[in-house]
């Protein structure tokens, strides 16, 4: 099996305090650079991860341990300070459902816009449009402006667009708590179906039972460092202890 994702020894530092204006920066310079404007901390430190094509991996860890940051590096949203990230095939980040939805546009317009944002061509959106609407169970409300949707409807449509983008690698960040119980089950079985079809999955979720069902492998992050990398059951057991 070839690697779908190769993360080699990446580190990422963030500044704690952001200067947000020219004025502040000038004042700081004028005062003889007193105080550090750029105090930094490691959000990721020497992280190396290789994921094979078709693997299902859960990223586990407490809040702030760097899970989202790692996914953003895999999707290309962020670039590492050092180390390299390489991916094979199209990567789709379901980093947040509905990023890019516009409340004043109809559901239909949003399907097209969001599909294009997630990398679909015009042809692909046209071909999959009916499937997207059917999966979302939005029905006749597809031509209603999204701002009149309930939050459940909104999430259903957004999730539906995302799963229909059909990338090789799926990054899923805490979005499995979508919608009501029945729809959630539908999403999960859709994700399991993707896994069975050989898609590579990297999942972040606080629902440990859920990730145990979806993923085979677990990676435990702690303060930006990989603490454990092995079978999902051992990873979950370690996190619970």
């Amino acid at each position: 099996m070839v690697n779908a994702i190769e993360v080699s020894d990446i580190s990422k530092q963030f500044v704690l305090r952001h200067t947000r204006s020219i004025k502040e920066a000038v004042v700081w310079l004028a005062k003889g650079r007193k105080g550090d404007l750029s105090e930094k901390f490691h959000a990721l430190k020497n992280v190396s991860v290789e994921v094979k094509t078709g693997e299902t991996v859960a990223l586990l860890g407490l809040n702030g341990s760097g899970k989202s940051t790692l996914l953003k590096h895999i999707s290309g949203v962020m670039l590492p300070d050092s180390g390299t990230v390489r991916t094979r095939g199209r990567v789709a980040g379901l980093i947040e459902v509905g990023a890019g939805f516009h409340p004043d546009l109809s559901g239909r317009d949003n399907v097209f816009l969001n599909g294009a944002i997630l990398g679909m061509t015009e042809q692909q959106v046209n071909d999959r449009f009916d499937d997207i609407v059917e999966f979302s169970e939005i029905g006749q409300f597809i031509d209603t402006e999204v701002k009149f949707y309930s939050s459940g409807m909104y999430l259903r449509l957004a999730f539906s667009v995302a799963v229909h983008t059909d990338p090789e690698v799926f990054l899923i960040d805490e979005i499995l708590a979508v919608g009501d119980e029945p729809f959630q089950r539908k999403c999960i079985s859709k994700i399991q179906e993707l896994a069975q079809n050989g898609k590579t999955l990297v999942v972040v979720s606080h629902d440990l039972d859920l990730v145990s069902r979806i993923c085979a492998r677990g990676i435990l992050l702690e303060h930006g460092v990989v603490k454990f990398d092995g079978s999902i059951h051992d990873a979950v057991a370690l996190l619970r202890s």
Binding site: N3, E6, F14, H18, T19, R20, S21, I22, K23, A25, K72, H73, I74, S75, G76, V77, M78, L79, T84, V85, R86, T87, R88, G89, R90, V91, G93, I95, E96, A99, G100, H102, D104, L105, D109, F112, L113, A116, I117, L118, G119, T121, E122, E168
Partner: protein, 293 residues
């Protein structure tokens, strides 16, 4: 997102700059359409308003400046410009386009921050879409301008129409370049928007919109006038005057020397240079957009 074959490993997040937009034509189209839809949403008159507003502006200029202030050429004011309203308006529509394009492009990255920090896509899309939208908004003003010109007896030749296209292209390229530059800078320093506002105010007065270029030439020496002339916005405005205003006059007005042989290529060159610099700066800074937004 790049359409790579599953066969190779690639580094995500390294875009090819403006070149990537060729693959993102569909998304660019949708982003522009979104802006237009949101702007005219809920108002059937929306599109009509965009014709009425410049129309009223034109009439106000004509009456207040041409008639009351007496800037219009008349027996009592032989120094005035004939068809002053057309003169003024042809410059103003181009400045309006420049202001809206640059202003919106400079804000576009921060305004789309929510998307940019979650999903990777060619970020040049946002400034370019802003300029494009401004181009669409420019159209109704152009219609009003042409109507005004026709009333004033406009009879342009092909060369004059080409001059208008050249002026529009020069200003559009400049706005894109500056939009990339300030759009990126705005992520790091949110008050760089103030710089843009200042720049736009200066741009209106640093070009012969309200006055004639001859007045500048009289006051400035040859060297300073050359600097004044090298501004792509100035060249764009002069090209618009040549295309829209000049054909409505008796043809006795002076066209700036070497406007076509020298200044038009210079304007295009400066605009392209700014575009390249804007793109280079943008690419240097975009790697950290997601974390700074």
């Amino acid at each position: 997102m790049s359409a790579t074959t599953p066969g190779e490993l690639t580094t995500p997040g390294l875009g090819g700059g403006l070149r990537d937009l060729r693959q993102s034509g569909f998304l660019l189209k949708l982003l522009v359409r979104k802006e237009l839809k949101v702007r005219y949403r809920g108002s059937v008159l929306g599109l009509l308003w965009s014709y009425v507003k410049p129309g009223v502006q034109f009439i106000v200029f004509y009456v207040a400046l041409g008639v009351f202030l007496g800037l219009e050429r008349s027996p009592r004011n032989p120094e005035g410009l004939s068809n002053y309203a057309v003169y003024l308006f042809s410059g103003i529509v181009l400045i309006n386009f420049f202001s809206e394009a640059l202003g919106n492009a400079a804000r576009s990255i921060v305004n789309n921050g929510n998307l940019i920090k979650k999903i990777y896509l060619p970020r040049e899309l946002f400034p370019v879409a802003s300029v494009w939208v401004s181009g669409v908004h420019f159209f109704p003003q152009l219609v009003v301008l042409v109507a005004g010109c026709l009333i004033a007896g406009w009879h342009p030749d092909v060369f004059q129409l080409l001059a208008a296209v050249a002026g529009f292209v020069i200003v559009g390229l400049l706005a894109t370049g500056l939009g990339l530059l300030f759009g990126a800078a705005n992520v790091y320093f949110r008050d760089s928007e103030n710089l843009v506002d200042m720049l736009l105010m200066v741009a209106t007065w640093a070009s012969p919109v309200m006055y004639a270029w001859t007045m500048v030439q009289e006051k400035l020496g040859a060297a300073a006038f050359a600097v004044y002339q090298a501004n792509p916005v100035t060249i764009g405005v002069e090209l618009f005057h040549y295309a829209f205003w000049f054909p409505t006059t008796d043809g006795s007005a002076a066209v700036p020397p070497n406007l076509f042989s020298l200044w038009t290529p210079v304007g295009l060159g400066v605009a392209l240079l700014v575009l390249v610099l804007g793109q280079l700066t943008f690419r240097r800074l975009e790697g950290r957009f997601a974390q700074e937004l």
